[in-house]
Symmetry: C2
Subunit: 425 residues, 2 copies
C-alpha cells in the first residue's frame, strides 16, 4: 500500500471523498468530547478518596505543630521529608506549599522581577529586557506566565533527548538578557521524552552570560510512568551543584496528578541559598500554606513505596487509554506517510506532528465534529507553531471508548488536511 | 490618689523602686509568654474540628462540579453565595480562593504593579512612584506588602471613627501617585474601632487625583464581635457604587479567625468589572483554588446564621481574655495618667498608647521578663511609630491566667518607662 504522498492527484481526490463521507458521518453523531487538557479522569481521582476523609482529630505534625493554626512557611517537617525524597533533594532543600505548582512558578518568577534571584542580583523587572528560552513544543501555561509578565520567549527545538543543547548553549552564552529556561525534564509536556543525562549535564554546566540565569524545572511527571520500564532522570539539582552552579536550578513538583488535581500539594526545591532568598520574599506575602492538607497527604502516601504503589494504579487506568490512542494512530496513519507521533513511557500526552501547515485545520475540523483538542499552536510561545504541525492529544480524561471514537475522527481529519496540503503542493 | 505626672521626683523615684522590685520578681519567674500576634488559641480551633473530617465521599459542588479536579477559578457556587452574603455583596461580585487573604491582597497589588487595575489604566510598576495611604496604627503585614513592593507609605492618623478623613481627602486629591489606601474597616487592627458611616461615605465619594485609586479594604473582623452590641459597618462596595465610584474598592475577607487559621477560606469582593480584570490576570497564574476546602467550609458553616452561632462560641472564649486584659489595665493604670487604651467591641487586639517615647522601652522590658509583645512600631509604616507610644496587645492565644500574669507585668513596665520619662522631663 502506498503512502499518501505517493498517490496521484486523482487517487488523492478519491481518498478525500471517502474520508469526507466518513467525516460527515462523525458530524452527524453530535459528539461532545474534550481532550484539551491533561486532566485526570474520575477513576483516577477515586484512587485518593481516603484524602476526602481529612486528617481527622490528630492534627499535630512533627514538633508538636498545630496544623490548624498559622505558620510554617516552608511546610511541615514530614511533608518536606517525603517530598524531598520524591524530588531527590535534601529536606532542607524543599519548601512544601499549597496546591498549585503553577502558582509557585509564577510567584517565583514574579519575585525575580521585583527583587531579583539573589541579594546581589538585579530585579529583572528593572532591566530593559528579560528573555526565557522555551523548548518547544512545551507547556502552554509556562509560556502564558512569560507572556503575562512581559518576558520575551525564544523557542528552542526539542528532540528525543531534550532541548537542542547546541542552540541553548549558544543563546545562553551570548545574551545576558536571557535569564531562564523552562524545562519539563521527565515525560516532557507534550513530547513525552525524558532529558538524557548528557542534556542535564550540559544544562548544569553551560556558560551563561547572565550570572543569575535560572532553570525553571517543572518535574510534573516525576513518577508518572506508564510502563514497567520507567525513564530515569539524572538529578538536576545535584548536577548543577557538581558543575559548580548550585543556584542555577529551581525545581517544582506537585501531587496534582498523583492525588487530587484541584487539592494536591505543590513544592519548590532548590539550594538552601535560593530557598532562603525566596523565603525572605514569601514572608511578605503569606503566613503559610495549608498544613492540614500536607499532613493528610503524608499520611495517605506514606513514603516513596506508597507513592510508587499508588502510581501503578494510575498507570493501570491510563495505559489502556494511551494504547487506544496509539493503536488508532498506527492503524489509520501508520502507512499514510503524513504524520509522526510519540510513544511515551509516561506523562500525560501523545504528541503528533502532521504535515506542515495542517495542525490548525485538523483542530478546527475535529472541533466542528464535536471533539475539542488543545488549540493548535498552544504548545509554542505566543501560541504560534511556526510549522503549524503540532497536535497535543490528552488521553487521560475521556473513556477508552470515547478515545477510540475521537481518535478515529482525529486521524480522518489529519488525512483530510494532509491530502489538501498534498493537492496544493 | 494622684496620677504619676502629679507626683514629685522623690515620690516618682520611690514608686520606681517599688515597681522595680516587682519587675525583678517577674524576671525570677522565667515566664515564656507570646502575645505578638492575633493567633487563635487551641480552644477556638477546636470549635471547627468537624472540618478535619473532610468533605467525605460527596465531593460534587453545585452544577456537578467535581471538587477533586482542576478548575473553578472564582470558587464553587455555594461558597461564592455564602461568602457574598458574609461580605454583603452579590455572588457575582466575589471570588473565593485558597486560605490566605494576605496572599490575595499581595497578589492583587502585585497584579496592579504589573498590569494596572483596569484595561485602560497604567501598570503601577512603570510609574516613577506609587504611594499608599496607611491609616496608623494599622496592620503590620499590610505595610510589609507595600515595603516589599517598593510602594511609599504615608501614615495617616486614626481616630474613633476611622482614618483622619480631612487628611485622607487632602492627600488623595493632591497627589496622583497616591494609588491606594489600606483599611481594616471593622474592629480595626489594632485600635478596634469601626469606621463610621460618614467615614465610609467620604472614602467612597472623595475626589482622588489618581483615576485608578483603590481602597484595599481588609474586612478581617466582619463578624468577630465580643459583645451583644456589635458594631455595624456601612456597606463599602455599595457606598462606592452609590457615590459613582463602583470600581474604587477591593474588599478582602477570610475565615482564618472563623474556622482554621492555617486552613480557612480567603475571598476577594469587588465590582464585576474589577473581578473580570483580576480574573484575566489570575488565569495566567493558577488553574484554580482548593475547591474541596470550600465545599467543606460551606457544609460546616451552612449560612449566615451558622456563622453567627459559631462566632458566639469564639466570643465566649475570647471575651474573658479581653476582660482580664482590660481589667488589669484599669486596675493598674486607671488612675496613673500615663496611658490610654481601647475598649474594643470586637476584633483581636487591645491598643495601648503610653506616654510618648515609652513603647520601645516597655516592649523591651517585657521581653526581658519573658513576655513577648508585638515589636514596638510594628503597627506603623516602616516600623516607625513617630511618637513611640503604641503597644498592641493580642489576647487570643494565652490563657486567662497567663494573660493576668502578662498584663500585670506589662502595666509594671508601662509605669516604669513612664516614670523614667517623667523624671527625664
Amino acid at each position: 500500500m502506498s503512502t499518501l504522498p505517493q498517490l496521484s492527484p486523482a487517487e488523492l481526490t478519491a481518498r478525500r471523498d471517502q474520508l469526507t463521507a466518513r467525516y460527515q458521518d462523525f458530524q452527524a453523531r453530535n459528539l461532545t468530547l474534550d481532550m484539551t487538557r491533561g486532566k485526570p479522569c474520575p477513576e483516577q481521582l477515586d484512587l485518593s478518596m481516603a484524602l476526602l476523609e481529612g486528617p481527622g482529630r490528630d492534627y499535630l505534625a512533627e514538633g508538636n505543630i498545630d496544623c490548624r493554626n498559622y505558620g510554617g512557611l516552608e511546610g511541615i517537617p514530614e511533608a518536606r521529608r517525603l517530598f524531598a525524597a520524591y524530588l531527590e533533594v535534601r529536606p532542607d532543600e524543599i519548601m512544601v506549599g499549597d496546591s498549585s505548582s503553577l502558582k509557585m512558578m509564577h510567584d517565583t518568577i514574579l519575585g525575580a522581577m521585583v527583587h531579583g534571584t539573589a541579594p546581589d542580583a538585579p530585579a529583572w523587572g528593572k532591566l530593559p529586557k528579560v528573555k526565557f528560552l522555551c523548548p518547544s513544543p512545551g507547556y502552554d501555561r509556562h509560556f502564558a506566565v512569560c507572556q503575562y509578565l512581559g518576558i520575551e520567549m525564544i523557542a528552542v527545538a526539542m528532540d528525543e533527548s531534550g532541548p537542542d543543547m547546541d542552540r541553548v548553549e549558544e543563546l545562553a552564552a551570548g545574551d545576558e538578557a536571557i535569564k531562564g529556561i523552562w524545562c519539563v525534564p521527565k515525560y516532557s509536556n507534550p513530547t513525552g521524552i525524558t532529558y538524557s543525562d548528557r542534556v542535564v549535564e550540559r544544562l548544569a554546566a553551560m556558560r551563561t552570560a547572565a550570572a543569575d540565569f535560572r532553570i525553571f524545572c517543572d518535574n510534573a511527571y516525576a513518577v508518572h510512568d506508564l510502563t514497567g520500564q520507567p525513564d530515569r532522570l539524572k538529578n538536576v539539582l545535584a548536577a548543577c551543584r557538581e558543575a559548580g552552579n548550585p543556584e542555577r536550578v529551581l525545581l517544582f513538583g506537585s501531587t496534582s496528578k498523583i492525588t487530587l488535581a484541584g487539592a494536591g500539594i505543590a513544592m519548590l526545591a532548590a539550594s538552601r541559598r535560593n530557598l532562603d532568598f525566596i523565603r525572605g520574599k514569601m514572608e511578605n506575602q503569606t503566613i503559610g500554606p495549608n498544613k492540614l492538607n500536607q499532613l493528610n497527604h503524608v499520611r495517605f502516601l506514606k513514603d516513596l513505596d506508597g507513592i510508587a504503589a499508588h502510581m501503578r494504579k494510575h498507570a493501570a487506568i491510563l495505559k489502556p487509554k494511551f494504547d487506544v490512542v496509539l493503536d488508532t494512530l498506527k492503524r489509520d496513519l501508520g502507512r499514510a506517510g503524513i504524520a509522526t507521533w510519540s510513544n511515551p513511557r509516561g506523562g500525560y500526552f501523545v504528541n503528533i506532528d502532521t504535515l506542515e501547515g495542517c495542525a490548525r485545520a485538523v483542530v478546527s475540523m475535529a472541533a466542528q465534529a464535536g471533539v475539542k483538542l488543545t488549540p493548535a499552536g498552544a504548545t509554542f510561545p505566543y501560541g504560534q507553531d511556526p510549522l503549524d504541525r503540532n497536535i497535543r492529544i490528552a488521553p487521560s480524561y475521556p473513556s477508552v471508548d470515547e478515545l477510540a471514537t475521537a481518535m478515529e475522527l482525529v486521524t480522518i481529519c489529519i488525512q483530510l488536511a494532509g491530502i489538501d496540503k498534498l493537492l496544493e503542493g
